[in-house]
Subunit: 242 residues, 2 copies
């Protein structure tokens, strides 16, 4: 089991073969709030290893945090920070004219045995977002691994078959919305603690309907309110806003 303490709630991942350590990555999409990045990074369990893709370097810097390794073509990071990373031997520099995205290059150097968390992947252009979503989802599916995307506004988890997720918001708070999206053509899920419960329900990618669920009022009255989600078949995207 992995417990990740995000400022907006605790994510518990119940996996048969849990990863022992964390690889935390910041990419060049929407900038995570510096305070969120700082609090999140400090509360990561074990001895996390920090990675940056290009402009992600700037986001670490804003949070006064420094990555262990940096990857990219250096075309979007602050030139001074990029130069420092190169001189310290932390940067892996690729030409700007390449087929792969920075994220795809990053995946090639991430330690395969660690739990991968990505920030700086939301927002921005639709082509970037879809490309990142497909690339990470495919990696999660093919390697049968759980992958987490997060910033202060949204948490997204690629949940393979057989993995259970629990989400505990801070006391007196509830998430704005909880959504489930099939990543494979079909998936089967159960979810409880929510207003609309699903019990071994089939989701299909081309007809999303499990969007904008909420924590149930009954759950909110319990001692440790949380949402429990299980992916029983296929791969499902578990999503929390707010």
């Amino acid at each position: 089991m992995n417990k990740l303490f995000f400022p907006q709630g605790t994510l518990s991942i119940e996996d048969n073969k849990p990863a022992q350590e964390i690889a935390f990555c910041v990419c060049g999409g929407r900038k995570p709030a510096a305070s969120w990045l700082n609090m999140t990074a400090e509360k990561l369990p074990g001895t996390p290893e920090f990675f940056a893709a290009d402009r992600g370097l700037d986001y670490y810097h804003a949070a006064q945090f420094y990555p262990d390794r940096v990857i990219g073509d250096g075309d979007s990071a602050d030139p001074v920070l990029w130069q420092q990373a190169v001189e310290s031997g932390k940067a892996e520099v690729f030409p700007a004219d390449k087929n792969e995205t920075d994220l795809q290059l990053l995946l090639e150097i991430l330690p395969p045995d660690k739990l991968w968390i990505f920030s700086g992947v939301y927002g921005g252009r639709l082509d970037h977002l879809l490309s990142a979503f497909e690339t990470l989802g495919t990696e999660a599916l093919q390697k049968n691994r759980t992958i987490v995307l997060a910033d202060e506004r949204e948490i997204t988890v690629f949940v393979p078959e057989g993995v259970k997720i629990k989400f505990y918001p801070p006391a007196e708070e509830t998430p704005v919305a909880v959504s489930l999206l099939a990543f494979t053509e079909k998936s089967k899920v159960s979810v409880s603690g929510t207003r609309w419960q699903l019990d071994e329900t089939e989701l299909s990618r081309n007809n999303p309907f499990a969007i904008s669920n909420e924590m149930s009022e009954a759950e909110q009255l319990k001692e440790l309110p949380h949402i429990t989600f299980s992916c029983l078949a296929g791969m499902t995207v578990f999503y929390v806003a707010g």
Copy 2:
């Protein structure tokens, strides 16, 4: 053929069975700039019909434009505007507790023989964006129709097999980026007028690589610079930023 004049460029859709008229929709995602919405709506060919999903009503209002029909649960539109739409008989009101999203409800009332254009679909929450993307892409695929999403920052076209797209930026301008994404598991495409040309090339959904292409310098020297894209098999998403 359909020619759509957007402020950031003209999109020409070469289809065997082109739609004669346009259904233009504004949904409740990222607000299109009022000036963009105004200019775009005024230049639509034929006699366009205007639709709003919920908060899309507010976006029309900001552009001093009024939709012909409004759909949703009224929970995110301005209450005064919503009330006016209800009283004028233009609104189709659904309960807030429903399985379908506002967009899915909207699709059920859109005239099937018209070309569908959607604005107010970008940005915001990942679950909303993905749900809209899958819903519209599936509709385009199943009904073998071209569907356009647009605002002042991004244009996205679901392009079925056999359809050709040309994009003409305004004089002295070039798009920030042109990307191609397979919507079906595989698709086959050709693209020219770009720095990286593709000739009957296979794209796969799970390994996106045709991202951030640019108009070629040679094309920019021509009299009427444009990008030509053809979808030869499967369905492909043609995307322009800026």
